[in-house]
């Protein structure tokens, strides 16, 4: 009757993988969601031709001449409106600037908005030229549009980091808490299952899916938008695996004592939402004030995103990324160590 035992770590890992593959919702969030997000943002922020500047000219004497002068410049769209209507359009952002003609023409615009500032430069230039100003130096424009500097190039590594964080935290944290609420952890405790193997199986199953999800996002970026991969794939793999382990560690910590699925969802969001904002996923964290940047730089997702961008966009070798890699390892190692100490098995 006796039969050679199947390996416990193998069976536990297979279980994790089956559970995931048999859950269509999870597949959507891991594979389809980041690609749809990249597609939507890539289209919304795609590089366009020179921006059209929309301005209003207040009705009055010399208004017609002003409109003609402005429309000499190809990129200005000027509308002749009565003052009230012009003010209303400025307020709602449908025009970036209002010209009030006169002996000294007045330019009305919001100086805190980049559209306003652009319109001020372009309109000022047009009015000066039509009044007879000549350029002191002649300049020649040469425009470039190289992959690597566009928004989508910035975005794809950020989404990759976001996905590694999300799947790591959810995959591990949610799974553990679900087993706890099902009283499966207690049942396992009654068996000779090794606790370390149970936790290890989550990491191993994660690594399998990590390869697939990273490949899916990168391939999509490459095919749909020509996002470059300048560094080595080995370096990329090292960073992705380290990132996955880091967030699996944090996910284990978040799940280590939580008794309910609702509780763990709240904790997950508490941990992840700040990183969505501060870790340079959708926009560079250099937009924040100095002190906030210092905080942002300590977050594990910031380190992961910086490392991914360094490899994908700047072709950096791993030696150049030791700072972010060490930070990730510290987060992951510390979280896992604390999680093991305080873990609630019943």
């Amino acid at each position: 009757m006796a039969e050679r035992a199947p390996s416990a770590i193998g069976q536990l890992t297979l279980w994790r993988m089956r559970e995931f593959l048999r859950e269509p919702e999870a597949l959507f969030w891991v594979f389809a969601f980041p690609i749809l997000l990249a597609l939507a943002l890539g289209i919304a922020f795609r590089a366009k031709g020179p921006q059209i500047v929309r301005v209003a000219v207040e009705a009055g004497p010399a208004a017609e001449a002003t409109v003609r002068a402005l429309e000499q410049v190809g990129r200005i769209e000027a509308a002749l409106l009565d003052p009230e209507e012009a003010a209303a359009r400025l307020r709602t952002g449908r025009v970036a600037l209002v010209v009030r003609p006169g002996s000294v023409p007045t330019l009305v615009f919001d100086s805190t908005r980049s559209e306003g500032q652009l319109a001020r430069l372009v309109v000022g230039d047009a009015l000066q030229q039509s009044a007879g100003r000549t350029d002191a130096v002649s300049l020649r424009d040469q425009t470039v549009r190289e992959p690597g500097g566009r928004y989508i190039d910035f975005l794809i590594p950020g989404l990759l980091g976001l996905n590694i964080m999300g799947t790591g935290m959810w995959g591990v944290g949610y799974g553990i808490v679900k087993n706890r609420t099902q009283k499966l952890l207690k049942r396992f405790l009654a068996s000779p299952m090794r606790r370390g193997e149970y936790l290890l199986s989550f990491l191993l199953a994660r690594l399998w899916f990590l390869a697939l999800e990273v490949a899916a996002v990168l391939l999509f970026g490459r095919l749909a938008f020509g996002v470059p991969i300048r560094g080595s794939l080995i370096a990329l793999a090292v960073v992705a695996v380290l990132g996955a382990l880091t967030f699996a560690g944090i996910g284990t910590l978040v799940a280590s004592r939580t008794r309910t699925v609702e509780g763990v969802s709240g904790l997950m969001n508490l941990v992840m939402v700040p990183m969505w904002i501060f870790s340079g996923v959708f926009f560079a964290y250099s937009n924040f004030p100095e002190q906030v940047q210092l905080f942002a730089r300590l977050l594990p997702l910031t380190a992961l995103n910086d490392a991914l961008r360094g490899i994908l966009l700047d072709g950096m070798p791993l030696v150049g990324l030791m700072g972010p890699l060490a930070l990730m390892a510290a987060w992951g190692g510390a979280s896992f160590a604390v999680a093991l100490r305080i873990f609630r098995w019943e």
Binding site: A2, L14, W15, K186, R187, A190, S191, E346
Partner: protein, 309 residues
């Protein structure tokens, strides 16, 4: 003589102000099926979890298969099988995947097929757990406990919530395990289950053993084998002494007009009872009689019913 399968002495466990287990002693011999019978909240689950090394007692000692949890946990876990209350097995695994997962935790054990055949789930081997009925899930839980070919099987309310047919199927699985020489410790609040399966029963109430013996001995301790239950017309009462005068009445209890007589011979008591009531011009409502059961033992000891005690 081999050491007992389970030996515990003066177990105590408190949760805050509630004492769940209050100085409990048990001795379960090898090869025996031992039942802990008691109502919900009697401390059965706490006790069986302490015995399985899942909870630490506040006081008292536990020895399982001659060993103790602190020193020999790994070895003991290899030698026991367990089914816990309320465990939800992974919904999206198939029946055979679940059993194989549990098999993988043990050094020795049986083939997945053999265990599934024994619990009559071979046909369902490729079905997801989520598609199983309550009885099938419970048999699967027992299969996970049996896959290591344990010496000692712990079952915590193995048939609670099951229909009679599913219950019988679980009983057959337990009986088959017994026939191969296995030791079983089970908890239940079904007296039929204890009567059907157990060699000996400990009746548990408020965290203590209040009676111990084979089902037959416990019933015999009532001093009579039959129970006559009846109620009188509304507002009518009779003094208890009126009943003890009747032939062969061993015990009387009167619970809000519902009277129970424990008697040795029904055919003598019933005519005498009817005559006596007729003389007092009291009308009889609902007369029933049955063989005494463990339920009657519990009722006699505590004055409460097992199910809603």
């Amino acid at each position: 003589m081999p050491e007992p399968a389970i030996l515990c002495h003066q177990l105590r466990k408190r949760y805050g102000h509630v004492t769940a287990v209050d100085g409990l002693d048990l001795r379960v011999e090898r090869g025996e099926c031992f039942g802990m019978l008691g109502p919900n909240g009697a401390g059965k689950t706490t006790t069986i979890e302490i015995l399985q090394g899942l909870l630490d007692p506040d006081e008292g000692s536990v020895e399982v298969l001659g060993r103790c949890w602190a020193r020999d946990e790994r070895d003991l876990r290899q030698r026991m099988g367990s089914q816990l209350q309320e465990t939800k097995l992974p919904e999206r695994l198939t029946v055979e995947e679940v059993v194989r997962l549990f098999r993988s935790f043990y050094r020795r054990g049986r083939s997945v097929e053999a265990v599934l055949a024994e619990v009559a789930l071979l046909e369902k081997r490729r079905a997801w757990v989520s598609k199983l009925s309550g009885g099938q899930r419970q048999r699967l839980a027992v299969a996970c406990a049996l896959v290591s070919e344990p010496e000692l099987l712990f079952l915590d309310e193995p048939t609670t919530g099951l229909d009679p047919q599913s219950r019988r199927q679980v009983w057959e699985i337990v009986s088959a395990f017994r026939r191969k020489g296995g030791t079983v410790l089970l908890t239940t609040h079904y007296m039929e289950e204890a009567q059907q399966l157990c060699d000996r029963v400990a009746v548990i109430d408020h965290g203590r053993v209040i009676a111990l013996g084979s089902p037959r001995e416990l019933i015999a301790s009532l001093g009579a084998e039959h129970v006559v239950e009846f109620s009188l017309e509304a507002s009518a009462t009779m003094p208890e002494t009126a009943y003890t005068m009747l032939p062969g009445v061993e015990a009387v209890s009167d619970d809000d007009g519902k009277v129970r007589l424990t008697v040795s011979q029904v055919h003598l008591v019933v005519p005498a009872l009817i005559r006596m009531l007729a003389e007092h011009r009291v009308e009889l409502h609902e007369l029933t009689t049955h063989h005494a059961t463990l339920e009657d033992v519990f009722l006699t000891l505590t004055g409460r019913h097992l199910r809603n005690g």
